[in-house]
Symmetry: C5
Subunit: 314 residues, 5 copies
């Protein structure tokens, strides 16, 4: 995610990082060159004069606008939903920590070890940290999960390594520990139900992230949109050359820049969990949760929060 103030005036045109130009430069170049060619030939295709006028472009522009607008807001909705889900994870983790520390406590008459309770609490919160890290690794298709080692109890580690969905396995153990606490009388059933609600909300956020990752915008939309946009931009010189003459390639370049740019932006935003410049900073968010929960446990923080590198958070 790019974090910077908006450059003003003329400097706007020299920002490279975060610009969509890089993605579309090839298409744009080919399009502009073909426009130059059409202009030089005055719209003649061998002996044939091709007259299109701008009327077809006004007519096709209509459905194309519907497409672009629809796709654009759909892609952004996916991005923003992804961000909301990670916000949900942040807050549910905080609530979990608060609930564990408030409600899992030695009861009035208790003749066991208070440290046992504390250890259980700590294990639960550690698993929550592991949960978000595991989710991040899965969303980014990374199979190296050595860093999860720290957050799972020794005994559960081997089983965790073989689990297909690691965050799910951690959640299952978290729930079991909660059940044990309740049966040992360390927490009231009603309050255990409150914590269980928090766990369900974390499961829900994780499943929704997987849904976004696993379900693209229907492929036919992408296809229909790209085809129409390509036809539009590559035919445009024939429509303009008779009216605006040698300015044709210039205008075609601007129109193509906005159309292809909007389209490419949609492509980038659509999958918000990747590692591209405009994607969500999952590393930063996971680190923030880690710092938060360790803080709330009163334990020393291992790694500091992440800061933007070259205006960019990963």
């Amino acid at each position: 995610m790019i974090v910077r103030d908006r450059p003003s005036g003329i400097r706007l045109f020299f920002v490279v990082r975060g610009s969509i130009l890089k993605r579309i430069r090839l298409t744009l170049l080919v399009n502009t060159l073909s426009a130059i060619l059409v202009t030089l030939l005055h719209g003649n295709f061998f002996a044939l004069k091709i007259t299109l006028t701008t009327i077809p472009f006004t007519l096709i522009g209509l459905p194309l606008a519907i497409f672009l607008g629809f796709r654009n807001s759909t892609a952004y909705d996916r991005y923003w939903e992804g961000r909301k889900l990670w916000g949900e994870l942040v807050l549910r983790c905080r609530s979990l920590s608060r609930q564990c520390q408030s409600f899992i406590q030695p009861p009035a008459e208790f003749n066991g070890q208070a440290t046992d309770i504390e250890a259980a609490r700590r294990r639960m919160i550690y698993r929550a940290i592991g949960f978000v890290h595991a989710l991040r690794l899965q969303l980014r298709d990374r199979s190296d999960c050595g860093e999860l080692n720290r957050w799972a109890p020794e005994a559960e580690w081997p089983r965790l390594q073989t689990a297909s969905s690691k965050h799910d396995a951690l959640m299952l153990e978290l729930g079991k520990e909660l059940g044990q606490c309740q049966r040992k009388g360390w927490i009231e059933p009603c309050l255990a139900a409150s914590i269980d609600t928090t766990l369900s909300a974390m499961t829900a956020a994780a499943a929704a992230c997987e849904r976004i990752k696993g379900t693209p915008i229907p492929f036919s939309y992408t296809l229909l949109l790209h085809r129409t946009a390509y036809l539009y931009c590559f035919l445009l010189p024939f429509g303009l050359v008779d009216t605006i003459g040698f300015m044709t390639p210039f205008v075609v370049a601007i129109v193509a820049y906005t159309f292809f740019g909007l389209d490419a932006l949609g492509d980038e935003i659509e999958e918000p969990f990747g590692l591209e410049a405009n994607d969500l900073p999952l590393d930063t968010l996971c680190r923030a949760i880690e710092v938060n929960l360790l803080d709330s446990l009163g334990e020393p923080v291992l790694h500091p929060s992440l800061a933007p590198v070259n205006h960019c958070l990963t």
Copy 2:
């Protein structure tokens, strides 16, 4: 559901699978042929010269754009809501499994068989697997429900076979088993209420799927939209022929492709539970739930997860 990266550049025009062209080729062909005819006759209808200019198309284009945009986003909303509901089913099943294993346990003083409890838990989770399979079969209008046999206890099978709504019947039994567990003291009432919330959420997701399947976009919309689109595209040659001459059929073909394409896409997306290329992969989702829940029970998985065949998940 089609799962593939976007082809780039010129290859875009040669993708067939997932293209909407197949659905609209007949209409498109007739439309283009009639445009060729009009062009050859220079817009004369017998002795009568029909002059339309492009003005009417700009005027009609306005309400047509409203229609197409509205219908398009409505259809996609149905698709995405369907996907969300199945995501909800995935996560509620996971939560159910976690809750059963955390909270349905032998109480402190218990002199019965621990295996009885385990069996009850297992039956509940099996019924949940059966629930999603039964819902899938119903949404796809399939009456062969032999595969449900595995997930219902022997004793309930005959009754299940005659039930009108199989997933409903399974849910009813699931709830009854939960009630028995509570009365036997295997689970605290507060925590049983938590599980009951999960069951209600599964019922809600199933009912919402049935709502989407059972309530199409009002037929009058479809009718009005199709009529306007047909009139627009079939009259278009008369409006263009005087200005752009022999390019008329070509432009008409492109305009018709986008209009009819958008329209056909809406038709396909509108009913997301079918078996067409752009529909939701219910088989894959059900299998994923099955694998997930068996995994969480520690039981061996029967069938592996489904992978895309020819870029397509069913």
Copy 3:
């Protein structure tokens, strides 16, 4: 609600049922006749030549498009919210039945009549069936509520007949019965709270239906929209006649058809609980709930589910 597949090609133009043409035929006829008149007079109004060109129509078209689009999606939102609310009623009734059968049961040490409990449960579910029927009757302004007799206990019937809001009165009794069950120890308080949540959700759905029925889209919108649309369509011939000559009435008819059609569709969809062709099939939904709940009680079903008559569900 009209339930049918989309007719294809030319047959599209001969579908009558569900077409909005019937509603707007008079206005359309007057409009077309006036266009013919204008065409014959070549845009002269007595001695005065009225020149409008199409420019004003492009300008007015803009706010008109905003209106139509806004009103269209608002009307559809009301329709779809109505459908969602009835979907909510369906599922809450199912959940209620499940909860009653799971949780209202003889406690461990119970020396009363088990049939008393069963009868209470049955009364509760019967009242829920009565609730949806009463809501339907109220939403459709029908005052004959004899059919509710079957679903209310004998003793409550006289009071129910005089109640201003029958579904409300049934819900109040349902809640009282639940309270009695809880005080008699037939259900745990926590689980009674779960059932109470279901009852509140049913109350909420009913109140929201009443809200949709009772609050139209602000009248000024309707007024402003109709006036602009009428002015637009009746002035249109003056704008077209100089350019497209004898085709004017034809084009005016098409434009008017789409504008008035969209508008009339909005009118019809806006009040989704009526008895028109595109309204929600409340009879069918109520019957489905009835069949569902009787099924879940294991009782014989009185009336079969409703099937579409002439492509139409009521």
Copy 4:
């Protein structure tokens, strides 16, 4: 709120009540007069011929359309959210009444006065009626709250009169009474939690109403929109006079009517709790709640429900 069927055909143009014309007649008049002046001068401003053509209006029309559309749906969203919130209040009041009567009851072994419990229940429901009345008075900036006297217990009345937020003070007392009932054993804690959820929902609805009342659409939007609309409409004659001649004032009047009308409608709908013709009928809603709750208590109704006066509910 105006409640009437849509007038058809020509009668549409003679409806006055609810028309937005009254609000914008002055601006419209000035605009039309200036258009007449411009037409008479043939677009000359002293010796200077001002040529605008319609091109600038097409260009400015675009951002203006975005503005109007955005503002229109934002204003309507506020209106509809206001209506939903009052619908929420209606249903929560009903649920509260049901819950109080179901769950606040003499326990199994009870040796106090049953009438004490009944009185507490009655006080609670009376305070709920007072709550909605107090909220209405505050939303409409009325400081005469004598009518609240009836709904608060004698002892709380003095304190209520000095409270800054009367509905809040009533809710606080309602909550305290609930707490006392629970401590006296008249209601199970779990079920008290259910009633508390209802109270929180009522607080939420009230706070959301205050939010809508207290936070207008950002002033800069209003400013930018009005300025653009004024410039557009007052410059329009210069753009039209060369093409359509003496019809200019007529067309300007229609265009201005739709633009200013849409704008004024937004203004009216934006603050839904006032007393204008299109505002929400808070009096009617409060009365409905009052009648409902007294009905459910079995008490005689003081005032009948309100009916529309001259098609208008207040």
Copy 5:
């Protein structure tokens, strides 16, 4: 936030406060000057006559409109979500106060000090006041948190000063106090779960505010939009000068005013927690919560509610 009635008629053009003109005056000036230059040179660039006609602007206008509309509603959604979240904080604080006073009470047989309970209750509500103040300070990047001193108990103050997230630390302590109350028997577990729900909702609102603050609209959108808008407005004179002559700079100024104005408004609304004229009045909201909660405790109010200064709330 600017709070004032809309000025009418001509006065509209002389409002300065709240106008977006101040932000865009430089760009607007440069743009107008360049338009004057182009007009004087009759569109000649040295010896080269640049002919653009308005066609390119109609074509580019389309994607530009999509951009502006999308960005505008996205920015407003952020603003309105921010406002909703603070409304949520207001109501949750009120509910918290009500719940504490209703449910944290001396139990039936209690032989401790009733003032201890009262003090705990008071500490909890004070921490809630501190919570909103701390959140405000963080959202506005202010590091001086001396004013929080008053709301935290003496003993927790040192730890609070070093906490990275002060509102989080206060919430943790609030939760712990609730847990203690429950273990001491001052509140039923079920009702403690209700209060815990309120605390989770406050945590959620705070986290969502941080999300809005921390996640801007993707930078590529801003970049693409600004570039297109600049190109559009600076090329516009070349397109207009041949048709409308000396009116060109005037029209360019109006078009640029609306485009840049809409864009700048988006920039301002997008970050709703700042201190600019159109931002949310966090000071006022915090003060309102403070007054509310102290009122409900029956304590004297320290500072009066804030009133608008020069039509502006901070």
